[in-house]
């Protein structure tokens, strides 16, 4: 007997089932389907979502039958996977109260630390340089209207 292993096809198929199911389900539950003549806003998402759901199931079955490559999680750059969103959300949240300068520094620092083998000193230096370049390009050269210093600090 062979044991079922999580391969790329099975995982991708399940992801498609999830998405298709969500679109199809929320369209059926919350939106008017209408008729073929006068389609409601739920017609297209229900049909396409259903197709995605079905296709996802086929891909999962395909993955169970064939021996696709097994998923190898050891290569995933976990630091970046966690630090990128953290940096981006910090950036967005800091913009209004603290301003572009601090928001950019936070984002750059998070992204720099996401790289393997980065030292604290180099990350700080890199953040400062890239922040300066960004401010020069966006605020001065392109004249974007983002306040450098936020509301709380004025």
């Amino acid at each position: 007997m062979h044991q079922i292993k999580l391969n790329g096809d099975i995982a991708a198929g399940m992801l498609f089932i999830l998405f298709g199911g969500w679109f199809c389900g929320s369209a059926i539950l919350g939106l008017p389907f209408g008729s073929a003549f006068r389609m409601g806003s739920g017609f297209f998402p229900t049909v396409v979502g259903g197709m995605l759901l079905a296709l996802g199931a086929v891909i999962v079955i395909n993955g169970l039958v064939s021996q696709a490559e097994e998923i190898d999680l050891s290569a995933v750059p976990w630091r970046a996977v966690i630090l990128f969103p953290v940096g981006l959300i910090l950036f967005g949240a800091a913009m209004r109260p603290l301003g572009l300068l601090i928001a950019l520094l936070a984002l750059c620092f998070c992204s720099a630390m996401a790289v393997k083998g980065m030292t604290l000193f180099r990350a700080v230096l890199l953040s400062a340089v890239i922040t300066a370049v960004c401010v020069a390009v966006f605020s001065f050269a392109l004249g974007l209207n983002l306040p450098l210093i936020g509301d709380w600090l004025r």
């Binding site: 790329g8 096809d9 991708a12 992801l15 498609f16 998405f19 298709g20 679109f23 369209a27 919350g30 939106l31 008729s35 073929a36 003549f37 006068r38 389609m39 806003s41 739920g42 297209f44 998402p45 396409v48 979502g49 995605l52 296709l55 891909i59 998923i71 995933v76 750059p77 970046a80 996977v81 990128f84 969103p85 940096g87 981006l88 959300i89 950036f91 967005g92 913009m95 572009l100 950019l104 984002l107 750059c108 992204s111 996401a114 790289v115 083998g117 980065m118 180099r122 890199l126 953040s127 890239i130 922040t131 370049v133 960004c134 966006f138 392109l142 004249g143 974007l144 209207n145 983002l146």
Partner: protein, 501 residues
Amino acid sequence: MDILSNLALGFSVALAWQNLFFCFVGVLAGTLVGVLPGVGPLATIAILLPITFSMQPDAALIMLAGIYYGAQYGGSTTAILLNLPGEASSAITTLDGYQMARRGRAGPALAAAALSSFFAGTIATIIIALFAAPLAQVAMAFRPPSYFSMMVLGLIASVVLAHGSILKAIAMVLLGLLLGIIGTDIYTGSARLNMGTLELADGVDFVALAIGLFGIAEILRNLETSETREVLTTKVKGLWLSVADLKRILMPSVRGTAIGSALGILPGGGAMLASFAAYIIEKKMSKNRSEMGQGAIEGVAAPESANNAGSQTAFIPMLTLGLPSNAVMALMIGAMILQGIQPGPDIIVKQPGMFWGLIVSMWIGNLMLVLLNLPLIGLWVRFLTVPYPILVVAVMAFSAVGIYSASGTVFSMYELSFFGILGYVFMRLGCEPAPLTLGFILGPMMEEQLRRSMLMSRGDPTVFLTEPISLGFLIVAAAALLLITAPSIARKREEAFSEES
């Protein structure tokens, strides 16, 4: 002559100083990202999209287009000098180009690449000028069912030519269609599928989706391996071609241009397929085919002319039908929509200045690339020594500022993070993001045409089969699907048989 007056209009737009400037910026940025492996034209165009908001529409499109075809040039430089294709479409150039460089003929190889690309760019510009207007005229007569079927064909073609599993590519298209219709239903004006958030009522932020899927996902992918690049500094001498060399590259360039132009127009085609096809055909037809693979100048000229021609004729369906034939064109359509221009066959009538200006700018951009690249090759190669961490941080910062300046909400950062991680997961699972982008752009258009068709036919779905143009598109789409599935089934069966024996 109509064409001449149109081209004159194009020149007057393209030669306006700010358009010349942005064309220059575009090809410069394109060459740079073409040289750097790991940052492609897709990610660059996505990252620079928000900056184009404040620009004139023609300047914005001219710059974005410049990035695309500029990247083809940059990619060939590293392919020849370092055996490192900066761009997927120049992968085939490494075969003969690097061999030439190893034999001390790097100069002629680079010159051949640049000249054949310029030749192809010139011919492709003429082809666009000749055929775009009549094609748009034909498309104007399309009724909703034909439009719908044309988009089906476009999506199928993108699936057929995607790498890897066809099933996954179709699923990605469907997911793109669904993501595209999140927001407000145009017929009733009511919000739908927005998970109760106000921010999603305007739909998913296209820029965040594009940067997430192509920019951030690509970085995550590159962070998997922490390889260090070795850069050998080769002195490049003798950039001039001998008469004998010029004679040798003439016919390969002509053939490459023809193949590239044809494949570029096809939905899903574009530069990469074109360069591979041109090389294979050259290997069959060239007088010096025995040298191919060992440093034949034909092996550089043919794929380089093909990928340049293909990347330019890919604009034809985008400009005349509003149909993106690849992910870069999807981004271009996105840029147009963000500028308030509805893509479709009437662009040529409503925005003649932008239309012809863009076409002429491609030729001017190609000229700039030849003049720029050959003297500056040493500088471009030096860019390869830029350490990857700097690129990572710069891309993150530019993306975030660009998106935030356009949306002004924290929510767009959630979207960017979501699509970045999702894009990475999909890449790991062998699902290409390009079909999703096409679906996302076409989703709302397809739904609209579907609803119009059904209103027209009073709910009779056979209208797609009784309308001749529509039927034609569907037949071609079905044939394409059959063609691609048949050999892959055959191959799978072959594999099964070989395992048994």
